[in-house]
């Protein structure tokens, strides 16, 4: 079930955020709050899939919105607000991961992402027709965990482009604007990322457990 298509992107016409953005630029904090509420799930999801930890992802997502707020006066409206926000979020995630890689990792946080007891299960597909049985539910949670694990094993660039495309549902053009590359680069990088992930999930697929 390809659920959530409607919530992946705002309306395609003119920028639906322009009015809120103008008010926020004029200093209306409530208008910015409305923007935060509109995009918090997107930004948080991107951060979570990139860093792999909910607490850390929340910090990263908060920082993204603070950066956006600080840079709002520089937003000229030449692109959509969502694209601009995605650019900030993408770069901030990559910078955060680079900074984290330079820091020594405390031993307690080592181990495959998503395997800890403290790590809540990732969201899984919601069944359109009735509730999944608990055993199905857990199987899907397990699959989601393994997919997240395979994602974490990719390079940051590959992970980012997969999240932007497959989870956030951005077009090639939007991805190009968000990460600052040509559309042709998006196309080739996305293909390499998909093939790399397929390799990572190969053992899982051999069991036939990926739905």
């Amino acid at each position: 079930v390809q659920g959530g298509e409607t919530e992946k992107r705002p309306a395609d016409a003119a920028d639906p955020d322009s009015r809120l953005v103008e008010r926020a630029k004029a200093g209306d904090v409530r208008a910015f709050e409305a923007l935060v509420r509109r995009y918090e799930r997107w930004v948080f999801t991107l951060a979570l899939r990139m860093v792999g930890d909910r607490g850390e992802a929340e910090d990263v997502a908060q920082d993204v919105f603070l950066k956006a707020y600080a840079g709002l006066s520089g937003f000229r409206g030449s692109s959509r607000f969502s694209t601009w926000l995605y650019a900030i979020a993408s770069h901030h995630c990559l910078n955060h991961l680079a900074a984290r890689a330079r820091r020594p990792v405390p031993e307690s946080t080592l181990g495959p992402p998503g395997s800890g007891a403290d790590d809540p299960p990732g969201p899984i597909e919601r069944a359109a027709d009735g509730a999944p049985r608990p055993d199905e539910l857990l199987e899907r949670q397990e699959t989601a965990r393994q997919v997240q694990e395979a994602l974490q094993a990719l390079t940051e660039d590959h992970r980012l482009i997969l999240v932007l495309r497959e989870i956030q549902g951005l077009s090639y053009e939007e991805i190009a604007a968000a990460i600052g590359v040509e559309v042709g680069t998006v196309r080739s990088r996305l293909h390499r990322a998909r093939m790399a992930l397929k390799l990572g999930l190969r053992s899982l697929m051999a069991d036939g457990s990926v739905p």
């Binding site: 918090e40 999801t45 908060q62 790590d119 608990p134 857990l138």
Partner: protein
């Protein structure tokens, strides 16, 4: 088309970019080549598996925290701002402070005999000696300016004596007043008010499952629930307030009730730290008097508002009432309130939380069958909720408590996901499993 060319074009095929002769060639190749067909299937499954991860919900209070950070600059920025006040602001402030000090010093010296006497007694003063013939040209060298004051000093010297009993009289007065207060306000309200406050403090270190009826007392709620003893005041003040207060409470609330601290971990603790504790409720005295007439704590005492359950309440109010009842361990009331909340606000963003805590309330009441159903409802609606594993775990316990061995599988799976949650209750329940 070769196999390599075909596999290089998988993404284009998947995204619908392939067309014309290329598409025809690809379909023909996939028809003919079994290996590439297998690869294509695996490719599609991979991409779909990532899509199925879906969008994640941030914590409910996420936006409020962002706003709090925007509206409140960091402490070092505020300190820096204080430090670098412009001279135009600082200079008059400093001048005014200096003037005030000087005036105060002068006034003290002039008006307070003790100070003046101390100043004089520091130096050997001729005033204290009954010298028959003081030399008129020999004023005390240390304080020459105060010679003229000495007669006045003598006259005022006894003054401090009568002023000493005054504080005593006051000291006596205070206990009397306190005694009166104690009489009018018996111990009951104090002890009744105590558990929520204690509970609030204990909560961060002692999260835990609500025990079945008659078991050990459940671990209490987080700080946000502390102001709960003032439901009436809260209702009046919280209703027009759109977001922050209820949201903070909700956040604290939703982080309770994991089987052990292990289910929640560091990230939750960090989130909790990021939120300031809710301010204690105002006007506590308004509450104490009505509660003084209630039976003592532990006898099923209900709050003044417990008996009234109006037909329809604003969402925040209803949720707050339910959360307050849950925090106060009044599970019958919290179950009822959460049920009302869900009936009135099925689309509310806190509906999933409400469903979960409804199940928790029923579990705590020992209504295991209803609890198991409620956990299942919750999981059906929000399988990705952060309390999902907890819900599985408790659903397992609830089923086992009714002798339903289907609970074994649930419990085992939940414990596989959160091994450190294996507490005594879980082990005991698992002992009955095949």
């Amino acid at each position: 088309m070769t196999c390599i060319e075909a596999r290089d074009a998988f993404s284009d095929l998947y995204d619908g970019i392939l067309s014309g002769p290329a598409l025809t060639a690809m379909s023909r190749h996939l028809d003919e080549c079994q290996a590439c067909r297998e690869e294509w299937r695996a490719f599609r499954q991979t991409v779909q598996a990532v899509s199925r991860l879906g969008v994640d919900e941030p914590p409910p209070e996420f936006a409020s925290r962002v706003l709090a950070r925007i509206e409140r600059p960091s402490w070092w920025r505020r300190a820096a701002r204080l430090w670098v006040y412009p001279v135009s602001v600082k200079a008059p402030l400093h001048a005014a402070a200096l003037c005030a000090l000087l005036v105060a010093g002068w006034w003290m010296l002039r008006e307070t005999p003790e100070t003046e006497r101390a100043a004089r007694l520091d130096a050997p003063s001729p005033v204290t000696k009954p010298a028959p013939s003081p030399p008129p040209d020999a004023p005390p060298p240390s304080v020459p300016g105060k010679v003229g004051v000495s007669p006045r000093l003598k006259a005022e010297a006894p003054l401090p004596e009568p002023s000493v009993p005054a504080p005593d009289a006051k000291d006596k007065g205070v206990p009397e007043t306190k005694g009166d207060l104690r009489e009018t306000l018996p111990e009951a309200p104090a002890s009744k008010a105590a558990p929520p406050a204690d509970a609030g403090r204990a909560a961060p270190t002692l999260p835990g499952p609500p025990p079945p009826k008659g078991g050990a007392p459940p671990k209490a709620l987080a700080k946000g629930a502390a102001p709960s003893p003032a439901p009436e005041v809260l209702r009046q003040s919280a209703a027009p307030m759109p977001s922050p207060a209820p949201r903070a409470e909700e956040m604290q609330f939703s982080e309770k009730a994991l089987p052990r601290e292990t289910l929640r971990g560091e990230s939750a603790a960090r989130r909790r730290d990021a939120v300031e504790p809710a301010a204690p409720s105002q006007a506590p005295r308004r509450i104490e008097k009505p509660e003084a007439t209630l039976p003592p704590a532990g006898m099923g005492a209900t709050r003044p508002s417990a008996s009234r359950a109006p037909a329809a309440m604003p969402a925040d109010e209803r949720f707050s009432a339910a959360a307050t009842a849950f925090a106060a361990r009044e599970y019958a009331k919290s179950a009822e309130e959460f049920q009302s909340f869900l009936a009135e606000q099925p689309q509310d963003r806190r509906a999933a939380d409400a469903r979960f805590y409804l199940a928790e309330s029923l579990f705590a009441l020992g209504r295991h069958e209803e609890a198991a159903a409620a956990y299942a409802d919750f999981l059906k609606e929000r399988p990705d909720h952060r309390q999902a594993v907890t819900a599985l775990y408790r659903q397992g316990l609830a089923r086992l408590a009714r002798g339903d061995t289907a609970g074994c599988a649930l419990l085992k799976t939940a414990l596989e996901r959160a091994p450190r949650a294996a507490d005594a209750a879980a082990k005991e329940a698992l002992a009955n499993c095949p």
